[in-house]
């Protein structure tokens, strides 16, 4: 059972938290999420949408979410807007996740978005009568500086790290909340202080390296405090639904130095002198100022030499948080298991055949009247994110997740290859949770249908069947 359970996408496991979740008496019914398009936001939205007690969710962001709309709506909003309160009118809870994290931006912009923007959002929430706020703080709020207690608990003093914009702004927002809490005792405010997120949709150089199965060792032998992002999202939702108050560290335990993480996940260890990386990062930041590239704040590199040992005992005890990746080694193994390195060329070929096949008369007729933007999310080795847009009898295939999708179909890439080769059954996989369909009702049938028509094409007579069989024999390689 244990090995089977590993097949499943984390989502359903998160949902098994339901017994814990259902303890909370009055779940908020209308929830606003700032930063819903981001790495954490996507996961939080997905959980809130799946929770049947939640009636409405609004994602406030510059980009549309990657979660299907429905009770989820999207409002293009900037945390700096003076009239932000109008976006959260009628909401009883707010998750504030919008923040500039790794992207390099002029300090004035970082301050305006992270600090002034957060204050603006919190004041708007108070004005709108929100009764619960969950704020995405960070372990950086303590200051990534030497000398913190071990383990680092929530009551430890925070120190402002002025030369690291991210940490300084996290500190400043918490300092604001210290006062805000006193003037608004009617609002339950939870400050989540996660370690660095590791997950499927990291949007920074460390994440891009990890996707290529490499991890940088800058020397110094400092353990990296990390947490699996879906675990963190579970904790955010628990705090939101329970109306928790106070600070909560969220971290995997048994932190490892890069070399040990590399061993745990069978990753390449890339040893680069810190000075060189720092130079590169500064160069990237300088280039970013020219607008040519999106740079990384070099302070992330400078801060990577400090040990923090956060304890998540409080989140476990008070929120009932049960991370599925309790240790750093679990996090890395989970990453390698579900996050694709690159799309399998056989899957790319299948999707090209799909797009070509939908141009023929039968394919087009079958899809007539069916319009959908399906996010085919293929996890694990050989996977990737694909947008399947069905419209006017045609299917167009593009890389990346549609924003917003009408449906998300998630499955391991190896399962898709098995199904294409005639090994296994799509519907069984869907009914047992190995394929997860969110949103649009016919998306599962649509994906089953494209697999079915691919299989049928290999049985066709003539040149078309010949080509299909040739492709299929390659795609079906074990």
């Amino acid at each position: 059972m244990r090995s089977r359970a590993r097949w499943r996408w984390q989502f359903h496991d998160a949902c098994k938290l339901a017994p814990g979740l259902s303890k909370c008496e009055a779940a908020p019914v209308r929830i606003a999420v700032s930063g819903g398009a981001g790495q954490l936001g996507s996961l939080v939205l997905r959980r809130l949408v799946a929770d049947r007690r939640v009636r409405e969710v609004v994602s406030l962001d510059l980009r549309p979410p990657i979660v299907p709309l429905g009770k989820l709506s999207f409002v293009r909003a900037d945390v700096r807007e003076p009239a932000f309160a109008r976006h959260i009118k009628g909401c009883d809870a707010l998750a504030h996740l919008a923040f500039i994290v790794t992207r390099h931006a002029p300090r004035a912009v970082v301050d305006a978005v992270n600090v002034e923007g957060s204050k603006n959002v919190f004041r708007a929430a108070a004005a709108a009568g929100v009764s619960r706020i969950v704020h995405a703080s960070s372990i950086a709020a303590y200051g990534i500086l030497p000398g913190h207690p071990v383990p680092l608990v929530e009551s430890a003093p925070r120190r402002r790290q002025a030369d690291f914009a991210y940490a300084a702004t996290k500190f400043d927002v918490e300092a604001f909340l210290d006062d805000f809490e006193k003037t608004h005792p009617e609002i339950a405010i939870a400050r989540m202080r996660p370690s660095m997120f590791v997950g499927a949709r990291m949007e920074h150089p460390f994440g891009r390296m990890l996707r290529r199965r490499a991890i940088v060792d800058l020397g110094g032998g400092v353990p990296l405090p990390i947490v699996w992002d879906e675990d963190a999202a579970d904790a955010f939702v628990l705090a939101l639904l329970q109306g928790a108050r106070g600070a909560f560290n969220l971290s995997a335990e048994e932190h490892l130095v890069p070399a040990a993480l590399a061993r745990a996940g069978d990753l390449r260890l890339v040893r680069i002198p810190r000075a060189l990386v720092l130079t590169l990062a500064r160069a990237s930041a300088a280039l970013a100022r020219t607008g040519l590239i999106e740079g990384t704040d070099p302070a992330w590199i400078e801060s990577a030499g400090v040990t923090l040992a956060p304890s998540s005992a409080r989140a476990r005890a008070d929120l009932g948080w049960r991370p599925r990746c309790p240790t750093a080694a679990d996090v890395v193994r989970r990453f390698v298991e579900i996050v694709p390195e690159r799309a399998d060329p056989r899957i790319a070929l299948f999707l090209r055949l799909l797009a070509a096949g939908s141009r023929d008369a039968h394919g087009a007729a079958a899809l007539r009247g069916f319009a959908a933007d399906v996010h085919l999310c293929l996890t694990g080795r050989g996977g990737g994110d694909f947008a399947l847009r069905a419209k006017d009898g045609r299917v167009r295939v593009a890389r990346g997740a549609p924003r917003p999708p009408t449906a998300v179909v998630t499955m391991p890439a190896t399962l898709l290859l098995d199904l294409l080769a005639g090994r296994g059954d799509f519907t069984t996989a869907e009914m047992t949770g190995r394929v997860v369909v969110e949103g649009e009702g016919l998306a599962g049938l649509f994906v089953a249908g494209i697999i079915g028509s691919y299989r049928a094409a290999t049985a066709a007579r003539g040149g078309r069947g010949l080509v299909a069989r040739a492709a299929a024999s390659w795609i079906a390689r074990p």
Partner: protein, 352 residues
């Protein structure tokens, strides 16, 4: 919540004998459902969808049911309206006749046909299926209400004609339409027709679909026919006292229903002979996984399978989604009568 039964006339292993037996079984279930207080028997019209649906002449089946029952309503779910399948005058005549003979018990749903199998077999013009449907939907209720019917349209030019008989229900039997394609619930609502929808999709998706439908139907002002604002879904259902047994049979049946449907819809193929779908029982591990998934957050409510407690939970999800009627697809291959009984006795009473 209203509870009804849905008949596809589905069979996993058609032989002349098993085919005949299925028809008689369905008839017996319909008679039984009448006694148990179900709301309606809904019968599909499909042509050539072997194994998935052998119900090609629903008007015959429903008239048989009408003769053997007293109270239960008789639903066409749905009559295919593109004219190659059925001429609108013939539909008006048949529905009216059934309505008279059954004492005004007919619900009339219509659709366009979704499978390439029937579209090509009847040489329907696939490009105008929607327009053909729409024209007939507007014509038929006028045939029922007008003493002399005249029509000039894109597909039909009918000189003054007295279409008879007239239905017993006034102004006419309630009208429904199939709306399982993503945006068609709102379209059906705008026309003021009742909605017949599969139960696929997340709770959130279905709830949004119902909201879109309600908003559209509230604004509908159909001319020459009565408005219907009823939303129905068709979950695959098997409820037994023994949860595991219900799942072993019910989930296998639901899988057959879904995969056979997938073979005929959206795939661009016209399968012949035995369908390439799984028919065996789930192995122990898969059954345990599928059972554990039921009613979890993120699961779809598409199957009401298990013991009465589990079924009540799933039905409650449909209540929250805002559905008016559940048309239970119990006819999934192996159908002991006891299951109709279990649902009616131990689930239905909880939902008025």
């Amino acid at each position: 919540m209203k509870f009804s039964l849905f008949f596809e006339m589905q069979m996993a292993d058609p032989t002349p004998a098993s085919e005949a037996q299925t028809f008689h079984d369905c008839l017996e279930q319909a008679v039984f459902a009448d006694a148990l207080g179900y709301h309606c028997v809904w019968e599909v019209e499909h042509h050539g969808l072997r194994e998935y649906s052998h119900s090609s002449a629903p008007e015959i089946f429903l008239s048989f049911v009408a003769a053997r029952t007293r109270r239960i309503r008789l639903g066409h779910g749905v009559t295919l309206l593109p004219f190659r399948y059925n001429h609108p005058i013939r539909i008006a005549e048949r529905i009216a006749t059934l309505d008279i003979l059954s004492g005004g018990r007919v619900n009339w749903g219509s659709g366009k046909s979704s499978s390439l199998v029937e579209q090509l077999a009847f040489e329907s013009d696939v490009a105008t299926l929607h327009e053909q449907w729409l024209e007939a939907v507007e014509m038929i209720p006028r045939m029922w209400s007008a003493d002399v019917f005249t029509h000039e349209g894109r597909f039909f030019r009918i000189p003054p004609t007295q279409v008879i008989p007239k239905p017993l229900q006034k102004p006419h039997p309630p009208m429904f339409a199939a709306c399982s394609k993503p945006d068609s619930a709102a379209a059906v609502g705008r026309l003021g027709l009742g909605a017949l929808n599969f139960a696929f999709g997340s709770d959130d998706y279905l709830a949004q679909k119902v909201r879109d439908y309600r908003a559209a139907v509230a604004e509908a002002r159909p001319a020459g026919r009565a408005k219907n604002d009823h939303f129905a879904c068709t979950p695959a259902t098997l409820v037994l006292g023994d949860d595991r047994k219900a799942c072993a049979y019910g989930l296998r049946g639901a899988r057959f229903f879904l995969s056979a449907l997938g073979q005929y819809y959206l795939s661009g193929t016209r399968p012949l002979g035995r369908l390439d779908v799984a028919r065996d029982f789930f192995d122990d591990a898969a059954l345990a996984d599928a059972m554990a998934l039921r009613n979890t957050a993120g699961s779809q409510p598409a199957t009401i399978v298990g013991d009465p407690a589990c079924a009540r939970e799933t039905v409650q999800r449909f209540v929250e989604i805002g559905v008016d009627e559940l048309i239970l697809v119990m006819q999934l291959g192996t159908v002991p009568h006891a299951l109709v009984m279990t649902f009616a006795e131990r689930v239905m009473p909880h939902f008025g």
